[in-house]
């Protein structure tokens, strides 16, 4: 083995320029793959976190059909008691009950249609980042207080400030006319115009009174310590539902189906690019190895007539390729890690990215994230592609006739 390894290594350096060029192709692709994959996976993680943190949580208990139609009637009876039951179970990190309705909010000067969310002020900060984004004033206080917090854009549009009053008009659960006067105690600024323009939160008790909810709400929102615990937590949440209730538990994937699909669509197009890169590198390697086999025809003929089997020669060629591939992998990994590490500190941006990113709740600068998968996933595939492409030149050796080969020019 040792002698074959040494032979292979020396053979590589008979044509250093060629070896470096072939390795260069691998290093180039590997660096690119590492950077692109790190950026992608970093982005996905942020996309999921940002979208789930703002509202939907990891799990929600809802009435059947609410996820599609979100009608007032599709409510969860005794929602606060149910949330309390869940809170007793340590599997769930944070649990909060909510109600959701649409209302026309009017100030002295302006009226806008908004989404009013009834929340439990004590528990909501655990499941949503909105309470933490209150930049002016404070978050809601008591469960029955006639208070409201609104988004910064909505405050600007309604021309109101902390302490002003808003009138809300809407429809109650039973179809009755719903109205309330609330005073603004806080203004949040999430930086996402769509949220800041259209969302307001009031205490759940007030919400239930105003919209004739009769103790019901629309969701119990649950977060777990990690996304990985979600499937187990979902089972547990289903077990804890009151007997013979028709309520259902949805995980984040069902709550935000667009999210996973956007990631999938992006992954698919990325895979296409990755595969093209790998195939191009494979061709380059195939060419190199074919040449290096062809130019050694005479030499191979001699060693074969001395008794070396084509199988061992084939292994020699494969070993040369593997050495080259490993070099490409290591150099590529080092270079890719350096480039990515640098960008994960200074961040990465390109013209137009800010507008695109805002659409997916992402910041304007991206920080790629290196993991073992992104560091070695791509290069490993390049290595496999490389070895596969060397099979053709290696297998050709079986057709070599020693006598003819020795006579080759």
């Amino acid at each position: 083995m040792n002698i074959i390894l040494r032979l292979a290594w020396r053979n590589l350096w008979r044509q250093p320029r060629r070896t470096w060029l072939t390795t260069g192709a691998m290093v180039f692709s590997n660096t690119l793959l590492i950077f692109m994959m790190s950026l992608q996976f970093g982005t996905y993680e942020l996309m999921i976190d940002n979208s789930l943190q703002s509202f939907s949580g990891h799990l929600q208990v809802q009435a059947p059909g609410y996820i599609d139609d979100s009608k007032m009637r599709q409510s969860v009876p005794g929602v606060r008691a149910l949330a309390e039951t869940y809170r007793q179970d340590a599997v769930f990190e944070n649990v909060a009950a909510r109600g959701t309705a649409f209302a026309l909010a009017s100030s002295d000067d302006r009226s806008y249609g908004i989404q009013v969310i009834g929340v439990e002020p004590g528990f909501e900060p655990g499941v949503s980042n909105i309470p933490g984004l209150v930049k002016e004033g404070r978050y809601l206080d008591g469960i029955d207080a006639t208070e409201i917090i609104i988004g910064a854009v909505l405050a600007r549009n309604l021309r109101v400030d902390i302490g002003d009053e808003l009138t809300m008009l809407g429809t109650g659960r039973d179809g009755s006319f719903a109205a309330a006067i609330v005073s603004i105690v806080g203004i949040f600024d999430s930086g996402i115009a769509a949220l800041d323009r259209s969302i307001a939160e009031i205490p759940l008790g007030l919400f239930q009174d105003t919209f004739a909810m009769d103790g019901a709400g629309h969701q119990v929102v649950i977060t777990t310590a990690d996304l990985a615990y979600v499937p187990a937590a979902k089972l547990e949440a289903e077990n804890l539902l009151p007997p013979d209730s028709s309520l259902v538990v949805h995980d984040w994937d069902a709550l935000q189906p667009g999210l996973r699909q956007a990631i999938q669509a992006d992954l698919t197009s990325a895979w296409f690019m990755y595969i093209v890169l790998v195939v191009l590198v494979a061709f380059s390697v195939m060419n190199t190895q074919l040449m290096s086999v062809l130019e050694r025809t005479k030499e191979f003929g001699i060693v074969m007539s001395l008794g070396l089997t084509p199988g061992r020669l084939g292994r020699l060629v494969m070993l040369e390729t593997a050495l080259m591939g490993i070099m490409g992998l290591l150099l590529g990994a080092v270079l890719g890690a350096l480039v990515t590490a640098w960008l994960s500190v200074v961040g990465f941006s390109y013209p137009g990215m800010e507008e695109m990113a805002a659409n997916f709740n992402l910041p304007a600068r991206m920080y790629p994230k290196i993991s073992l998968l992104t560091l070695f996933g791509g290069p490993a595939i390049v290595l496999i592609g490389t070895l596969a492409s060397a099979l053709y030149p290696a297998l050709r050796l079986y057709r070599l006739q020693p006598v003819e080969a020795m006579r080759a020019a």
């Binding site: 429809t171 999210l259 699909q261 074919l290 040449m291 062809l294 013209p351 137009g352 990215m353």
Partner: protein, 409 residues
Amino acid sequence: MRQLQILAILAWRNLWRNHRRTLIMISAVTIGVWAMIFMTALMRGMVNEMLRDGIQVLPGHVQIHHPDYRDDPSINNLIPGTEDELESIFGGQEFEAWAGRVRVPAVITSERESRGITLLGIDPIAEAPISFVFDDIVEGRFLKDGADSGVVIGRKMVDKLDTRLGKRVVLMSQDPENEIADRGFRVVGIFDSDPDSHEETFVFAGKETIQKMLGVEDRVTEVVFLGQDIRNVEALLKKVSGLTDSSLDVEPWYELDTYLGAMVKMMDGFVLVWVIVIFLALSFGLVNTLVMAVFERIREIGLMLALGMPPVNIVGQVIVESLALLTIGLALGNALAWLAVVTLEDGIDISAVAQGMEMMGASSVLYPVLHMTDVITANIVVLVLGFLASLSPAWRASRYQPVEAITKV
């Protein structure tokens, strides 16, 4: 001339001395070029669909607003000037289409549910070339004229409001004095849209009816213009700006929808980056092939030099060889890409990730689109960079000392 012919013949024959190597390299170039063009066609197709759904639909190509309207889309920020005045300014001009609209946030209420929506009071006749709804009425009819007393709502909205064709709904918004203005409407038509989100966002009613309801006489909040080519709206923009009072906002679609604007601008950059990345991956193999081709001909090149062939002809020979190889690869790659696009002309169904595509603003069928400019970019980049990449091996070949080269074993 004669000399060039000889060079070309020499180069061509050299290319086929080792047909395996040449074929492998040509395959690599073909796959690379195919990937460049096909991937670009897919992305272009996606962006085109996004433009069709996102821009042709409602924003038109250029819009005029009150300077405060974009931040505060309220009925208070009307465009100064009555219908007749607008007509006298824009009526005589040549536009593909133009229309005034009342566009305000509103709340729609059925017997059971309330939703926040964007209410569009339109003149269906003037809007016919602009809005999407006309093609997609699935039940009932579209608005007859500006004085129509019915509303047209989306299919999803019908479900959410628990209403149906022929039933009454109430629209609520504010009038300029911030009094609640409301009016009952009969649902006369139901539309279907792609992306689905329009169905939940927009409600259409007659312009005059809405003006009466809001008490704004014959004033509008926006004027929308359609030009001939969405990618070239500068002329239209200039024309509209020239006609309008300078205190008003005149904005092209890419400023109204910055996400789409950024997307389209980024596409051009993406095409170039993608083409160059693929070429770089190819270039290692190309240079390698040339280096090898030169290396195995050292003696022959030395002989030609010794016989008096000027070094520049050696350079020419290698470059012609390289360009011939690239040209064959390009021709095949272009043909393959064209074939792929024609085969998939009817669209690729990607509805498995429809909601994800919707998040990106794209529809669920992907139609690849070949842009001549992209094809030209790809071909030029490959030829120019290919030429540059072959300079170094060609130069080295012409620098051999004839005597040394001939005697080299």
